[in-house]
């Protein structure tokens, strides 16, 4: 019989181990799900987790998918560390794509090197603008930022649909809800021959690096952490809490907005009515699984990207439903939250199951 006992202090080892335990449990659950679906678990596992990345092209795809996840995840981590729950990254990404994409469409004749940076700038500003709404309503009116930012996701997606059905629609596109294809200068260059890997990955990595300096090295990052761990200590020390709320929200909006531009200027190449397969939500999981630390977030984004690729590959090769990806994503976060219990508690052999708790 095992019994649960509080550790004298939180375990550092478990802090790092718990995401690995979660990933492992998710893989085991995967085998069970595959078996229940009547697939050979070994083959399905291979098709889901190995096949997508066993060549250069596959690795490129993995990085393409990981790129927005790590960028948004880092941005969200800034807010999450301050206990600012921005779950509106999906909408911020969409508005970023709209802003950057509109620049590309308006300036379709331009063939200059400054076009892409301008698009990225506008996309980042668009994402920040969208994130500024919940930040403003939270700091001025105490409105819950979780619900406001989430509602704005629906609004942003409808806004995008409105635009690609109307003003931004390609006049020669046979009425399809899509814009013209972006020009050469508005498209991210491919980095590695034989893959689709584009320069956006470098932008994302730069964003992660900036996030790391902010979170781990700066005084502002320290203040964010204090506000998240103990708001009253932040007040006591005189840290400006509404400034920290703004910082947390805008960092997420900036990252998501830029990620949105990188999507439309990279793999998609035009504005369409759906620019993200739920990256904004998946990035929340990435941020948590990555322990709100930029290094961990990079690793977690690779794992999540693999789940996306595996979903596509499983659908093509094994007729597995694509929705399995969503289940895996949810399970991963469940397992992480459960495994985190072991940071503060441990299981010891003993006579009473209730042990130190009742």
């Amino acid at each position: 019989m095992l019994r649960i006992e509080a550790r004298p202090g939180p375990s550092k080892t478990m802090r790092y181990l718990s995401p690995l335990i979660a990933a492992l449990l998710m893989l085991v659950s995967g085998l069970v799900i595959f078996t229940l679906l009547g697939k050979d678990p070994g083959r399905a596992f291979h098709a889901f987790f190995v096949e997508p990345v066993n060549d250069l092209y596959g690795i490129g795809e993995l990085l393409i998918k990981a790129s927005p996840l790590m960028l948004i995840g880092t941005g969200l981590a800034v807010g999450f560390r301050a206990s600012i729950w921005n779950i509106g990254a999906e909408g911020q990404l969409t508005v970023g794509a709209i802003c950057g994409g509109t620049v590309a469409i308006w300036l379709a004749q331009v063939q200059a090197g400054w076009l892409l940076p301008l698009m990225i700038l506008c996309g980042g500003l668009g994402g920040m603008l969208w994130a500024a709404i919940p930040a403003l309503l939270r700091t001025r009116f105490h409105a819950n930022e979780i619900l406001v930012s989430l509602m704005l996701n629906y609004v942003a997606i409808l806004l995008l649909a409105l635009l690609v059905h109307g003003p931004l629609r390609d006049p020669e596109g046979y009425g399809f809800p899509q814009s013209i294809l972006f020009g050469e200068a508005a498209t991210l260059p491919v980095l590695v021959e034989g893959t689709r890997l584009h320069a956006g990955v470098l932008v994302s990595l730069a964003g992660v690096l900036a996030g790391w300096i902010l979170l781990e090295k700066s005084f502002l990052g320290y203040q964010i952490r204090v506000a998240g761990l103990a708001g009253r200590a932040a007040d006591y020390a005189g840290f400006d809490r509404s400034r920290l709320i703004w910082t947390g929200m805008l960092a997420g909006g900036l990252a998501a907005g830029i990620a949105g531009v990188l999507e439309v200027a990279g793999p998609i190449g035009q504005l369409i009515d759906s620019v993200s397969p739920g990256y904004g939500y998946a990035a929340i999981i990435v941020a948590f699984v990555g322990r709100l630390h930029p290094g961990g977030i990079v690793l977690a984004s690779l794992l999540m990207a693999l789940l996306y690729l595996g979903g596509e590959s499983g659908q093509m090769n094994l007729d597995l439903p694509a929705a399995v990806t969503g289940i895996f994503q949810g399970l991963l976060l469940f397992y992480l939250l459960a495994a985190d219990f072991l940071i503060n508690y441990r299981l010891v052999p003993g006579r009473r199951a209730t042990g130190g708790r009742q």
Partner: protein
Amino acid sequence: MTPRLQLEGMTKVYPSVTACDRIDLSIMPGEIHAVLGENGAGKSTLMKMIYGVIRPDAGHILWNGEPVVIRNPAHARRLGIGMVFQHFSLFETLTVTENIALAMDGRCRADRLAGRIRTVSEQYGLPLDPNRLVHSLSVGIRQRVEIIRCLLQEPKLLIMDEPTSVLTPQAVRTMFDTLRRLADEGCSILYISHKLDEIMALCHRATIIRGGRVTGTADPAGETAASLARMMTGHDLPRCAQDRPAPGTQPCLEIHRLSRKAEDQFGTDLDDISLTVNRGEILGIAGISGNGQQELLRVLSGEQRLDTPETITINGQPAAHLGPAERRGLGLAFVPEERIGRGAVPGLSLTENVVLTAHRMGMVRHGLLCMERAAAYARNCVRSFAVRCGSINDPVNSLSGGNMQKFITGREILQNPALLIASQPTWGVDVGAANVIRQAIIGLRNRGTAVLVISEELDELFEICDRLVVIAGGRLTPPVPVAATDREEIGLWMGGMFPDRPAVPQEAGHA
């Protein structure tokens, strides 16, 4: 005669500490029995085991001679055990009647219960209005709710955990009368306290606990405060070395006619408060908690800013419009009442917690943190204030209450403040640590710093302060030199009977 309650070998082990180690205790019907011990000695854990909140790891309980296993508080209440908690177990947004109904195990109609509350509370001289919402009651009245809640169950044993910290000396006497009457009616009372004079005045017998073990039993009437203290702490009570220099006359902190409505509807309005704290003096603010201390402190620390800068000046500089960080720039340091979550950030190390307020001591350059400097500061603080810890990289919440308070006080004092404000500096701290902290505050004063201490412990204030004021109902008495007053007078003021001013409307039970 069979003892009402007998404990044999009660033991409770936590992963890091043995809270109770084979404790024996027995109490007769009608006996008032003191359990005496320092903070952290294991008194509260022992009482919670008797009340069924905590399950013992070993040991037996005999109730009227019969062995029992007390499964939960409802079971304890059925046996006839009642408990008044130190940190009240009340529900603020519910009425007095609802609060009491939640502790009554049988079904009872609300209107009948309200009637009984009225009768019983008046019968014991502790009148209560059953329809009031608890959050609108003062701390003293809330304690009455707790006591009446127990008395309605007609207990055979009443456990009282540090009950007098929320009462004026006069109210303490009223409560003692109530307790003696209960004892005369045959009720046994377990009285937990670390206040020696109270125990000598009230109790028939005392069991002394130190470090989770019984170190002796005594007849308090036959002991002196010093001898009880020796049993409690294992050594003689330390006294602060006072060597008072002449108190300064140069004002450092000045408050001019501060009035303010409470921002929280559960709070106290501040009413026309004026006060001057001079350099090189310790000014104490006495009062029962909930009389405006929190509100005053938030205004003084800058957590609550005012639009009228001149209302508060620090060294002559208008400061009432400034935030905490800017006031620290003027030389303010502040030790808040809550250690964990306000004075220190749980989950962060000692080094990281130094940065919280001492970051201006060269720990930030170009917006980036310089952790080496923070670590040096933390090491200095740990050494100078004898903070017992594994390492400065340990999370701050792994420290004991006393060590954490030494750390926080040290962090503030090492910034060489011109003005130190300390709220409840030794609340819940063991005697040794309390002495280190008081001595450090006195040392700071002797170097010319102005110190404002807010405390509910009169003994402490009389030991370290130069002048005293009392806060009651959001109003302040004029200051009085410590040598020119006594506990009796301060106690009257704490009850709202101000000198030369109309009495503050008393919040009695409104019965």
